[in-house]
Amino acid sequence: MSENPGTNLYLPFMATIQEVVRETQNIKTFRVTLNDPEQMRNFRFAPGQVGQLSVFGVGESTFVINSPPTRMEYLQFSVMRVGELTTRLHKLRKGDQIGVRAPLGNSFPFEDMKGKNVVFVGGGIGMAPLRTLLLYMLDNRTDYGDITLLYGARSPSDMAFSYELPDWLARKDMSTVLTVDNGTPDWAHKVGLIPNVLKEMNPSPENSVAVTCGPPIMIKFTIQALHALGFQDEQIITTLEKRMKCGVGICGRCNIGSKYVCQDGPVFTYAQLRELPNEL
């Protein structure tokens, strides 16, 4: 666990929202800093780890930290407005106080991935956890092989991180493909479902790892596409989402058999997922 005050698993760090970015009509990004400068300075996490955000009076929910540990001016969380907590979060503004319990869970195997080509396949808000790892790798660019990103959303206006996409598209040290299910006249990129576009792109499985996250149905067909391209189960990594309360493997919500997504996950290889009981 982190250096939570007093080692109380349930006591969040107090934090301040420094900036709110409207990403799409139902996704907002929150940039937060811990109020205690020393806690902020000592805060350590690895790409893929998650945190519980508290709006006191409403409750807590789990979100991935989607800024990389190489950029610690703030911790970034992107939140799709779905339920009670997220609706309330969306009303918060710069300067508002929230709680952060983090880091929780495991991380992407970014050390084991050194020297490998990496194929990111993100759908919708599922781009958030990928963003952490992508930026971490770009900040440690020489440690990794070719980096390919396929990012898709329902429509151009549903693409989060749109302000970063021009840079990603322009970069010479990664190759970026964008796609939408439903195009618009001014959409200059692909139109098509992510798994189909992935097959067109035809990335080589040779010395590669694929990292995917998105809606369950997209993950399912993306994994099928990756298999068709020759990726083995061990070369496919995904990150899961479950309803959680405690975040530390006690409360009994996020278990899949004897594994707890909050502490044994959220990151699993497809080989590991296949070993788990089928209760996603």
């Binding site: 006591l11 009076g57 300067g95 106080q97 479950k242 309360k245 004897s258 089928n278």
Partner: protein, 356 residues
């Protein structure tokens, strides 16, 4: 075992009253048709006949427990900013649980493995555990629904207790099991009973020997795990369940919880409350997706947790202690013994005959 003391049965209430001056005493008391662990009141006595309706787990994991308190404030900054003060509410109440049964105390060991797991300590649970003396009364007449001896326990076991209490004629013999129990016992003005320890042990052994031996359920983990995808099995055993949760609430080992905020006027508390995995809402996600959407899937998780997942994580220890409360108080007579026994002997339908 360490120190042994004894007390005459007719002096028990006076002694508990004395203990109650310096700590909260929780003891079983009849209340309407049920018996519950309630704060001891000498005027109302205690009820030590048989197993209490509810378990004493509330001594360590209360039904409703405030974890944090918070208060929003206005700051002087311009433009006005909202400040927030949050405070931990760590329990600090010395407690004696008197009249737990060996299954109940064994239930505390099940909780200990989860809430006091090395680096991951739940400070609320641990604070209560450290300040609580569990005095367990060995059983003399196991009920028909009792099956502690099929899940690794026994009617005179001391696991999870700080003090083991054995009835001998007109006496209770109190024997220290832990250092915490020893320290407590030595503080009490009770006569020494070291020479009665053998007799007490013999009395417990006689009860154990008289208890009918059922088939052991300790081999359940592999078999229950292997049935995970066998939905016809789970559909069958879950069919009559009402998902009411009586079993979870009465169970000494069911520890799943919810965390919610209760607030009014800019201040409030974050509370932890007992939850019930048989409820549809338990795993319902904001998107509408529910990984355990059907009753059969929830029953599979409930039975699976006790007889497969928990043992997988904790060296084979089951998280069922055989108290039988879920059997005795189920409105539709579900019987977890029967479910697990059925799992142990279940033959999967041959693929060619099943309607896949």
């Amino acid at each position: 075992m360490g120190a042994a003391r004894c007390i005459k049965k007719d002096a028990l209430l006076t002694w508990l009253e004395e203990v109650g001056k310096s700590r909260l005493v929780l003891a079983p008391r009849a209340q309407g048709k049920s018996t519950a662990f309630l704060p001891f009141d000498p005027a109302k006595g205690i009820s030590l006949s048989g197993l209490a309706t509810s378990s004493p787990k509330q001594a360590l994991i209360p039904r409703h427990e405030a974890l944090l308190e918070f208060r929003y404030t206005k700051t002087d900054q311009v433009p006005a900013q909202t400040g927030l003060a949050v405070r931990e509410l760590i329990p600090n109440q010395p407690t004696l649980v008197f009249g737990a049964r060996p299954c109940d105390a064994r239930g505390f060991t099940v909780l200990d493995r989860v809430y006091d797991a090395g680096a991951k300590r739940d400070v609320y649970y641990c604070a209560r555990r450290d300040k609580t003396i569990v005095a367990t009364v060995a059983c003399t007449e196991p009920a028909d629904t009792c099956f502690c001896n099929r899940v690794g326990g026994g009617p005179g076991d001391s696991a999870g207790s700080d003090i083991l209490v054995t009835e001998l004629d007109q006496l209770y013999v109190l024997e220290a099991v832990t250092q915490r129990g020893e320290a407590f016992l030595l503080e009490q003005k009770l006569p020494d009973a070291t020479e009665l320890a053998d007799k007490a042990q013999a009395a417990r052994a006689a009860v154990r020997a008289a208890m009918p031996e059922g088939d052991s359920l300790l081999g359940a983990p592999d078999k229950v795990g292997a049935l995970f995808d066998e939905m016809p099995f789970w559909d069958g055993v879950a069919a009559k369940c009402l998902s009411c949760g009586a079993c979870s609430y009465l169970c000494p080992t069911c520890y799943c919880f919810n965390i919610t905020d209760e607030s009014k006027g800019g201040q409030g508390v974050r509370v932890r409350t007992w939850d019930n995995c048989m409820s549809f809402q338990f795993t319902l996600e904001g998107s509408g997706h529910n990984p355990r959407a059907t009753k059969s899937q929830r029953m599979r998780n409930r039975v699976g947790h006790k007889f497969c997942y928990y043992p997988t994580l904790h060296d084979g220890a089951l998280s069922c202690v055989g108290c039988g409360r879920c059997i005795a108080h189920c409105p539709v007579s579900m019987d977890i013994r029967r479910i697990v026994s059925k799992a142990l002997t279940y033959e999967k339908a041959a693929k060619e005959h099943s309607n896949v």
